[in-house]
Symmetry: C2
Subunit: 196 residues, 2 copies
């Protein structure tokens, strides 16, 4: 059969164009903010006319949705070291998880805005993209469960604590480490509270 390889080539080509478009979108978003990047600029950056983008994405929201999914998927990869197959003492794991997530989020303010803040008015992630976000939360919950932290309030407190440090860092000291330096102390504070 020759058809399958041909189809694959085509799919690959299409996929690479999609990736190219997304990279252009990220570049522009980092420069002009998330609501600031325009389809015409994205098209210009990849050497197309604006309407041609609609061949690869149904709408501007679809591009943003793909970026959302991509961001959370990469977050999951960045947190691979936190996966349950690496057994650690409780506080060491809490620290590792916190640092992995914190560093990933603060390394790209615009990406964090898309991931964690409802910053694009009409945008609601598709189920497929949202699944990647749920997967990351699942890494936290299953990791905590390893140390018998299973109550929802305990999990909620941990995510709010780390998320608060991320937001404070990005909002008040972007590029610095004023709140990053509070990570370990925050983890200990939390561990004391839940009795770890």
């Amino acid at each position: 059969m020759l058809e399958i390889p041909n189809r694959d080539r085509k799919r690959e080509r299409r996929e690479s164009v999609r990736v190219e478009i997304l990279e252009a979108a990220w570049t522009l978003a980092r420069d002009h903010g998330l609501p600031g990047f325009t389809l015409r600029e994205v098209a210009r950056l990849v050497g197309m006319q604006a309407p041609s983008l609609y061949t690869h994405f149904d709408s501007r929201h679809a591009i943003i949705d793909a970026m959302f999914g991509q961001a959370w998927r990469e977050c999951g990869l960045a947190m691979e070291a936190v996966a349950p197959e690496h057994p650690l003492p409780a506080r060491a794991w809490l620290r590792l998880a916190a640092h992995s997530y914190f560093d990933f989020c603060t390394s790209d303010p615009v990406r964090n805005q898309l991931m964690n803040q409802r910053s694009v008015p009409g945008f609601v992630p598709t189920a497929e993209s949202y699944a990647h976000a749920v997967a990351v939360l699942e890494m936290f919950t299953s990791g905590l469960a390893t140390y018998s932290v299973t109550r929802r309030e305990d999990i909620d407190l941990y995510t709010a604590l780390i998320g608060g440090l991320v937001d404070a860092q990005l909002a008040n000291d972007p590029g610095g480490d004023r709140w990053r330096r509070l990570l370990d102390r925050s983890v200990d504070m939390y561990a004391d509270n839940v009795g770890l």
Copy 2:
């Protein structure tokens, strides 16, 4: 002298128009999101043509800046009960401050987005508007100082903790109380950590 009262009347009239414009902007922002409200809709709501708004505000950003200052000023008023002239035991004060701020922020998601997240790409608050935000932070720092909490790290941890709960509540359970119920516990956790 008759001139002064006339001038005052004029100033009052102008000021009331400004307030009317801001109220319309808030109404639309709550409905369509912060980037969603348009000058044409604001104008229509106050019975003007869009360009006439430029008589009262220099730009769309200027309207947003006024909203920013207004929001933080109202936040300061809502936290009057936390002012240092009301002596309280340390943890009682921490709880009161946390609840006042939390309830104010979560009662209006769009307002919180404007206050605490860099959600409008080109927007940087003017010094005058930003001063109102600094004043609220000052209420926290001076309040904490009452209980000999003066180290910057301790203050930063407190603000990040409360802010994290606010953001988690708004992002994951808007209108609910899933993270609000963690406020008192969080305050105790913090108080334990700083030795109060």
